[in-house]
């Protein structure tokens, strides 16, 4: 803050709403009184010309009117006023007034009266020039070394310098490369003109050069070919400022301090006459005006600088010497000598405050205290507190702020999928391989049972299915009002979706009495799209790659009756076979055995069978429940077609690896591209350019590589998307088969599904493989583990590194195979909590982040030795509920893909713990993957320490641990050995499965 203030010695408020700027103020003995004392001349944009002779003593007597010597209303706006010897054969000072289209030179004469108010002044026009071009500013001086009188130079708005020698016009020149006018100054020492051009550089033009340059009366002439008899105008020198300038001043106090000063928008520049810089001062404020006024110390320049913080600063070269606060932002500042005061600072604001001041030398320390820092009114605060507390009490009693938990649903959402396909398809892709792509209309009815605000309805279907509109904004609804929206769903890709269900999410807020903005709530609903949307009936195929056989305990059903919409075209009239052809091309055939109660589904690809199998199972259930048969059972005898399943896993994994590789290659090429660019740039920047040495060719080639790679990566991404959908299809099928095989309950199937399909989407950062492996490993270690010890320790195995893309799928496959195997041996996916499992405190402590290296490899080893029955017993005894909870929360995260009823029920009473558990679990399971070479030494060390601590708990574990570490170090060897072991194991499992 400013400590010192400018003391007003004399001041005045000029005009009634007039406007003033930089050129509007000048001082000088304009009336040639001979005393050498200055008068203040002020012109305004409204055309008022005023002359003042400030007189501090008289002000108190109400005689402030005396200070005004003259006030004249001129016809035009006044841009600039200057005092100088503008009349030939006269040593007297005259007043030059610049109007937009006119330059007038006046004489000001005074006649003294008996008393002050008897003094009269007269303004007499000596000569005037009407200007052809609109003027911007002017400067004056002894151009061309003329002595005794001043010439004038006016810069026009379009860049012409017009020269006037008293009452005659000399010549006009256009500045080269002109865009907008900058400040203008004349340097008498070098007889040149200075301006700052739109190129943000200071340019110096010699008067001599200007005089002999091409006579240009139009701008075009100066820009085009120069006429004969004149030279093209070029600056004498230039200096790049890098910013626009507010003002230029060329003071001449003494020879030793001859310099040019330029006030930029952010910096102050001082240059020598030849354009070399003397110094530059960075300003920490926005300057508004400046004036070099004296050279107090030889070789230095003193200057005044006004800024937009109402400050007036005094600099000696770059040193701040004094500062004073003004009551306004000055637009122009001058130093004047008055009869009673020498060295007064005259400043003018844009709204006409004229102040003649001197520097105050008493510091002021007062600052306003903050309003809110004041003492509070305790009574008032107390009353407010009581009021608020009362409100809170009421609110908690009535429960009105929060939605009533037991209240009826505010809203019901009902989706109706039209039984027949749309007459005219809404699909974006109208046909695939000659097959027309159909669409089906879905109508959603929303019925409100209370007032609803800002309701939004979104539709989500599985890719590559698409809908015509997926967002609906509903108007505010009253009680009992209904809204209907409808849209069409269709296939929008050349592969079948993994699921034909669609989700409807309605988000809304229901206002309560105390919360008028409403409590945000969400409601979900789902609908099933018909199978006919993605496939058409076809003729049965005889030989296929994959076969699945489903057994039932009921006599065979007529398939054509079950699938009425598909039966129309089939040639097979006995209802024994039915074939589906997907729009994408794949065929799936369903055969019903005439003799046994078996059904066979066969197709060329494993994953494509899923939708058909699902549909079949669903329709069976419906069919038999309609018939009233309660004990309908369907089963799958196995073996589980894991090899087929692994094909889609491998396909997906390979594409992910490819994506990673493309990513790496792309970044590598991008680095190369930038490196070449850098080299090229240094070559081009060089003043003596070196040959390019085919760098340009290299640049082109790299560019093409980058583009090609990007295209390939994009293609890969599309394939990956498709592969993921296929993987999900086959995983769904696998889960279905597993549940049919082992007759899993609904809850168990839900756990399995959540385990094998943990993600709705996979990303480069977190993909299906690692998250699935993490989930499967957890199941294997918890409810499907062999011994209580394992189960206990597994709980301690929390924390660890993040999940990342594994090196290969061997481990995952092994774990999935093991999962199937253990399920086959009677392993139960149960909901019971492992809270029963006593976790030793010691181990609990280990559950800190950073965790223990998990057991993973050992899971396979010694598996066969274990007695499966024993295991089952144990599992039954100490069932794990945590798994269930974990899955639930995971599901919640996954946009609540499948809100199973069980999970919802479970959710109610679950404390915070399970959520923590999930996080820990994730970390822990990711450890499995993290045994790559990337492992930093630090990470490797930590598990070691942990392992040491664990030694006491289990010697066997210790052994495992060591194995583990060894493996981490020599992962190269491991890869090979593991592969072979997996094969062996797989075989074993197959045999086991066959036996089971």
């Amino acid at each position: 803050m400013s400590l010192f203030k400018a003391r007003d010695w004399w001041s005045g408020a000029l005009g009634e709403g007039e406007e003033f700027d930089q050129g509007c103020l000048c001082v000088g003995d304009v009336d040639n009184s001979g005393t050498g004392h200055d008068k203040i001349v002020v012109g305004s944009y409204m055309g008022m010309l005023r002359i003042f002779c400030p007189n501090a003593n008289k002000q108190s007597e109400g005689g402030s009117a005396d200070a005004q010597l003259l006030e004249v209303q001129l016809q035009n706006a006044i841009i600039q006023v200057e005092v100088g010897k503008f009349v030939s054969c006269s040593e007297l000072l005259h007043l030059a007034v610049l109007h937009p289209r006119k330059l007038s030179v006046y004489s000001v004469t005074g006649t003294a009266g008996n008393v002050e108010h008897g003094d009269q002044y007269q303004l007499k026009l000596i000569y005037e020039h009407n200007l052809q071009r609109t003027a911007c500013n002017m400067t004056y001086g002894t151009f061309g070394g003329a002595t005794g009188h001043h010439s004038l130079c006016i810069q026009s708005m379009d860049g012409m310098l017009m020269f006037f020698e008293q009452d005659s016009y000399s010549f006009g020149r256009f500045l080269p490369g002109f865009l907008l006018p900058g400040p203008l100054a004349y340097n008498s020492r070098t007889d040149s003109f200075l301006t700052v051009s739109s190129a943000r550089q200071l340019e110096s033009y010699k008067y001599e050069t200007l005089a002999v340059a091409t006579e240009a009366e139009t701008r075009q002439d100066s820009d085009l070919t120069p006429k004969t008899g004149g030279k093209r105008l070029t600056p004498d020198w230039t200096f790049v400022l890098g910013e626009q300038a507010l003002d230029i001043s060329v003071p001449s106090f003494s020879h030793s301090s001859s310099s040019i000063l330029v006030l930029g928008e952010r910096n102050l520049f001082c240059l020598r006459d030849n354009g070399q810089i003397r110094f530059m001062k960075k300003l920490e404020f926005n300057p508004s005006c400046f004036l070099p006024y004296a050279s107090v110390k030889d070789g230095t320049t003193n200057l005044l600088l006004g800024n937009h913080n109402n400050m007036l600063l005094v600099y000696q070269d770059v040193t701040l010497q004094w500062a004073a606060q003004l009551p306004f932002v000055p637009v122009a500042v001058r130093v004047a000598n008055f009869p009673e005061l020498k060295g007064a600072v005259v400043s003018l604001s844009s709204d006409g405050h004229l102040l003649s001041s001197y520097m105050g030398t008493d510091p002021s320390f007062f600052s306003t205290p903050k309003v809110d820092a004041r003492e509070a009114d305790y009574e008032q605060v107390d009353a407010e507190m009581k009021k608020l507390q009362k409100l809170i009490r009421e609110a908690t009693r009535t429960q009105d702020i929060l939605p009533k938990s037991d209240a009826l649903e505010d809203l019901s959402v009902k989706a109706i999928v039209f039984p027949s396909l749309d007459a005219s398809s809404q699909a974006l892709i109208q046909d695939m391989d000659g097959l027309p792509v159909p669409s089906v209309t879905v109508q959603v009815k929303v019925k409100a049972s209370s007032v609803l605000q800002s309701a939004k309805l979104s539709i989500c279907v599985q890719p590559p299915l698409a809908v015509t509109q997926d967002q609906f904004v509903l108007e505010p609804m009253g009680v009992g009002s209904t809204k209907e929206v409808s849209f069409s769903a269709f296939l929008n890709g050349h592969y079948p979706p993994a699921d034909l269900t669609g989700d409807i999410v309605v988000s809304y807020s229901s206002p309560t009495e105390l919360n008028p903005k409403g409590v945000p709530r969400v409601l979900q609903s789902r609908f099933n799209l018909p199978l006919a949307l993605v496939c058409v009936p076809s003729s049965p195929a005889k030989s296929t790659k994959f076969k699945i056989t489903v057994d039932t305990n009921q006599p065979p059903v007529d398939l054509s009756a079950l699938f009425r919409e598909f039966s129309a075209k089939t040639e097979d009239k006995d209802g024994n076979s039915l074939a589906f052809q997907f729009l994408s091309g794949a065929k799936v055939t369903v055969l019903a055995s005439k003799t046994s109660q078996r059904y066979r589904i066969q197709g060329d690809s494993f994953e494509d069978m899923w939708l058909v199998v699902k549909e079949l199972v669903q329709r069976f259930d419906q069919h038999f429940s309609k018939l009233g048969i309660k004990d309908f059972k369907k089963s799958f005898s196995g073996p589980i077609p894991l090899q087929e399943y692994f094909l889609s896993v491998d396909n997906h994994f390979q594409l992910r690896v490819n994506a990673q590789q493309y990513q790496d290659l792309l970044s590598e090429r991008a680095v190369q591209f930038r490196a070449i660019q850098r080299r090229l740039l240094t070559r081009f920047k060089d003043k003596t350019p070196a040959p390019l040495q085919s760098l340009d060719t290299l640049l082109d080639a790299t560019y093409n590589q980058v583009i090609t790679l990007a295209e390939a990566a994009e293609e890969n991404r599309a394939l990956l998307e498709q592969a993921f959908v296929r993987l999900r299809s086959s995983t769904h099928l696998l889960v279905l088969l597993l549940s049919l095989w082992q007759g899993l309950t609904h809850d168990q199937t839900a756990i399995l599904e959540a385990t094998l399909l943990p993600l709705l989407q996979d990303t480069p950062q977190l993909g299906w493989e690692e998250s699935c492996d993490a989930a499967v490993s957890h199941l294997l270690r918890s409810c499907l583990s062999r011994s209580p010890k394992d189960q206990a320790t597994s709980l301690a195995q929390i924390g660890g590194s993040v999940l990342s893309l594994p090196q290969d799928t061997t481990r995952l496959k092994k774990h999935i195979a093991l999962l199937c195997d253990r399920l086959g041996k009677g392993g139960r996916l149960t909901l019971a909590s492992e809270a029963n499992v006593q976790i030793p405190a010691q181990i609990q402590n280990l559950a800190a982040p950073g965790g223990v290296e998990p057991i993973a490899e050992d899971l396979g080893d010694g598996e066969e030795v274990e007695n499966p029955q024993e295991m089952t017993k144990f599992i039954k005894k100490k069932p794990s509920r945590k798994v269930k909870k974990e899955k639930d929360s995971k599901e919640k995260k996954d946009v609540s893909r499948e809100p199973s009823e069980a999970s919802v029920k479970e959710e109610a009473g679950v404390p915070e713990e399970p959520i923590k558990e999930v996080k820990k679990e994730k970390k822990e399971s990711s450890k499995d993957k993290k045994e790559s070479k990337k492992d930093s030494s630090k990470e490797a060390k930590e598990p070691k320490d942990e392992a040491k601590k664990k030694e006491s708990s289990s010697s066997k574990e210790k052994k495992e641990k060591k194995e583990k570490e060894k493996e981490g170090k020599e992962s190269g060897d491991r890869k090979v050995s593991r592969k072979s072991s997996v094969k062996v194991k797989d075989k074993k499992k197959e045999t086991e499965a066959a036996e089971g």
Partner: protein, 312 residues
């Protein structure tokens, strides 16, 4: 000529004024009334009311009948300064500089001090109604440039201005607000005397021949001055969109005193409002060789450099 009390409302800063002085004078109107305003500098913590008339700003405390008064002449306004929304008023009265800071206690109140600033602007741009003006741009093409609400009642030619030895022949314009004289030979030589200023102090001499004509002119001026005094036009016109209640209703009721106590000595309430610490007047200006500019004379024992270094 004594019909009009000396106008002090717009040129003095007065403190602890009487209820009588708080009342509006003829021609003075209440323009705005702002509640919950704190006089931050003098009465920090007191809630008060700021009244804005076309001549002055009055602040009075709600709790205590203490009254501040401030004039419009020569003030600089600044609002929204620093960390609080405050109205800064810097003013000078009898060579003493005062600073007032008024803060709106209702944080974020949309109605800040816009009316004060607007009224001040209207005041500042209508000085021709109230101030003596010399050598101004009053005449254009031999015609008086009229102010809003001004009417010319008479134009008298052949009026001598006695301010110089030989005298200057000129013309009188007599209006409902002022008397204007200008020299016939030089339009720039003129004087504008509002009736408000006709009360002594500044003597200007004019002569009209013959004497009868002079008497007529005097009579006319006298009667116009009376009319003006009864209902002065200050020229500060400001239209508020919503009219506040009249000042009388808002004035704090004071029990009518039987005895009017004449204050023996000036109260020292004003000391709290000095713009610069405890200083009542600035020291005189002198030229500093060190700075090359005029400065306030330094106190004994101080140097410019020393002062600056302490600050820096």
């Amino acid at each position: 000529m004594a019909a009009l009390d000396t106008l002090w409302e717009d040129r003095d800063v007065r403190f602890d004024i009487t209820a009588q002085q708080m009342k509006t004078r003829p021609g003075e109107v209440l323009i705005d009334c702002l509640d919950s305003i704190e006089d931050t500098k003098g009465n920090n913590g007191d809630r008060g009311r700021l009244l804005v008339t076309n001549l002055r700003i009055i602040w009075h405390s709600l709790a205590l009948p203490r009254v501040n008064l401030c004039e419009y002449n020569l003030i600089y306004l600044n609002s929204g300064h620093g960390h609080t929304e405050a109205l800064y008023i810097l003013t000078k009265s009898n060579n003493t500089r005062f600073e007032f800071i008024f803060t709106n206690l209702v944080i974020g109140s949309p109605r800040l001090f816009t009316s004060v600033i607007a009224v001040h602007r209207a005041y500042e741009t209508s000085k021709m109604y109230r101030d003596l003006k010399l050598r101004a741009a009053l005449i254009q093409n031999k015609q008086l440039r009229l102010l809003p609400r001004e009417q010319v009642y008479d134009k008298i030619n052949g009026v001598w201005n006695l301010s110089s030895d030989q005298g200057n022949l000129g013309t009188f314009f007599i209006t409902n607000v002022r008397i204007v004289w200008h020299a016939n030979m030089n339009e720039s030589f003129n004087v504008s005397i509002p009736y408000l200023q006709i009360s002594g102090g500044y003597v200007l001499g004019f002569k009209i021949d013959p004497v009868e004509k002079l008497q007529d002119a005097l009579k006319e001026i006298n009667s116009l001055h009376k009319v003006y005094s009864a209902n002065p036009i200050f020229g500060v016109d400001y239209e508020m969109e919503e009219k506040p209640q009249p000042l009388e209703e808002l004035t704090v009721e004071q029990p009518p005193d039987d005895v009017e106590i004449e204050p023996d000595e000036q109260t020292d309430a004003f000391t709290a409002y000095f713009a610069d610490g405890n200083k009542q007047q600035d020291r005189e200006a002198v030229f500093s060789d060190e700075l090359g500019l005029a400065i306030e004379r330094l106190k004994d024992g101080f140097t410019l450099q020393g002062l600056w270094e302490v600050v820096g």
